[in-house]
């Protein structure tokens, strides 16, 4: 609770600097309900909950150049303060945040965050999965994030994001991010991330970019069998990504190269693997959108780092259709075929999602 109190205190201290500016507020509720069935299953673990009800809540308060922004996700499985950020709008194009944020080297998570309604597919690429759902890359950090967009070349925009903060721990249950509500000072390590992308104009999603991350991940608590003797990992990511967004088409993809150095009690292991995905979406009449995604990897089966988690989907194919049947409400049907490190399964999902101001 100390960190969240600190952020609220800082906002109160900053309020006199914005004297005369009205307080603006915005609340957004993104509920969803999902049912999943698996079949052709020989994988011991699938990461999948059969039924999930979620309410993702966003609150933004703004007074002058200062803002407080929070995202709380409540589901039938968890309740978590996902983002809690105090921001200072340095200029039109640059904002500086402190608090708990989604790390910027995940393009998918930067674009969609937790709200199901705003992503076309039901599931996200497994490399960008959240930590508490079996994700293998750290996503939630507590520290500072600087986001910027500036004009370059002839009308093109360079969007950048730099961040540094307290990294998640590696535990027997998977990655465990720093908890703002119940903070612990046990083995705090840092992670740094950067993303830069070029876009043909201010308002388009189309663009290409590069990403980088260097995260120190310490093991905490009783280890799982795969983690016995493991102390910490230095995980480095390099990646490229691109998006093409037109009226009826959207194609986006990301390719990550990961270098991991794993420190055990008496040895060090160097490891690397590559993971990528590409998703295509096509809008059809009657508010229907079809989508396909291919996720694949090189070197994942032999990766010592990925074996710390065991549930990673090294290959996955998904396809489906979304129907925006009412104002800010959608139904989505998705079929998937997944090869994990330990087996295979297919799944079918049905989801209702919505957005309410």
């Amino acid at each position: 609770m100390r960190v969240s109190r600190l952020l609220i205190g800082l906002l109160l201290l900053a309020a006199p600097l914005a004297r005369g500016d009205p307080l603006q507020t915005e609340f957004l509720l993104l509920p969803s309900a999902e049912a999943v069935g698996t079949f052709n299953r020989d994988a011991p673990v699938t990461q999948i909950e059969d039924e999930v009800l979620k309410a993702d809540m966003l609150l933004s308060l703004q007074k002058g150049k200062f803002k407080l922004f929070g995202e709380y996700l409540l589901s039938d499985h968890e309740g978590d303060l996902e983002r809690f950020q105090l921001g200072w709008q340095f200029s039109d194009d640059t904002v500086i945040w402190i608090g708990r944020y989604h790390q910027p080297s995940s393009v998918w998570n930067h674009d969609h965050h937790h709200g199901q309604y705003l992503q076309t597919s039901i599931s996200r690429p497994d490399i960008d999965e959240w930590e508490d759902l079996g994700g293998v890359l750290p996503q939630h950090f507590t520290g500072m994030l600087i986001e910027s967009s500036r004009a370059v070349l002839d009308g093109w925009r360079l969007r950048t994001a730099f961040a540094g903060g307290i990294a998640p721990h590696v535990t027997a249950e998977g990655l465990d991010p720093f908890d703002l509500v119940h903070p612990s000072s046990d083995r705090l390590t840092m992670g740094y991330q950067a993303r830069a992308s070029l876009h043909p104009n201010e308002f388009t999603e189309s663009g290409v970019g590069i990403l980088f991350a260097d995260d120190q991940l310490a093991q905490v608590g009783t280890p799982s069998p795969a983690q016995v003797g493991f102390n910490h990992a230095d995980l480095r990511l390099l990646g490229v990504f691109g998006t093409y967004a037109a009226d009826n088409w959207k194609v986006q993809g990301t390719l990550y190269h990961a270098d991991a150095r794993l420190y055990y009690a008496s040895s060090t292991v160097n490891d690397n693997f590559d993971v990528g995905y590409i998703q295509a979406e096509r809008r059809f009449p009657y508010d229907l959108t079809g989508f396909l995604r291919w996720e694949d990897s090189i070197g994942a089966s032999d990766s010592q780092y990925l074996k710390l988690f065991e549930e990673f989907a090294r290959i996955r194919y998904i396809g489906g259709v979304r129907w925006d049947f009412a104002k800010r409400q959608a139904l989505t049907l998705q079929l998937g075929s997944t090869h994990t490190l330990n087996g295979h399964f297919d799944d079918v999902r049905l989801q209702w999602s919505a957005a309410f101001f």
Partner: protein, 145 residues
């Protein structure tokens, strides 16, 4: 000198529009606002909820929905997208950056009240409704038939 010349040109063109009985939609601020000009990209950013700062102060967009034709002009001339695409852009901005969508008003009087109270508020109106109001200032013609 250049600013005075531009203001004179804007004044003359507005006067011409009024006399000719044309329908004109203009961007307006409070008379003592520090906003002197906004280009079309800044106007689009502002009404999509993106931050636009003048002298270090963020501007506050007010979407005037007092009549359906103003709504049509807003979508076609200011943000250049359909209502559903606009809704989605505003949702995306809030989800990614905590951007606050422009306030919406359905009565002309309410838009003027907000303008009178807030020197950083920016809205759009029919020229005929504000041409003789000394408490507001026209900074740009957005549409004219």
């Amino acid at each position: 000198m250049r600013r005075a010349l531009l203001s004179l040109l804007l004044f003359c063109s507005l006067l011409g529009s009024l006399r000719a009985g044309q329908q004109t939609v203009v961007l307006v601020v409070r008379a003592d606002s520090s906003v002197t000009d906004l280009d079309s990209i800044a106007v689009r950013k502002l009404f999509l909820g993106l931050p636009v700062l003048i002298n270090g102060k963020p501007l506050h967009a007010v979407r005037n929905r007092a009549d359906p034709q103003l709504d049509e002009i807003f979508l076609q001339q200011i943000v250049a997208m359909s209502q559903s695409a606009y809704d989605r852009q505003v949702l995306i901005g809030l989800n990614r950056q905590g951007w606050i969508r422009p306030a919406e008003v359905t009565a002309q009087t309410r838009a003027l009240e907000i303008l009178y109270d807030d020197p950083n508020a920016v809205t759009f109106m029919w020229l005929r409704d504000v041409a003789h109001d000394p408490r507001v200032r026209v900074i740009r013609v957005l549409w004219s038939d």
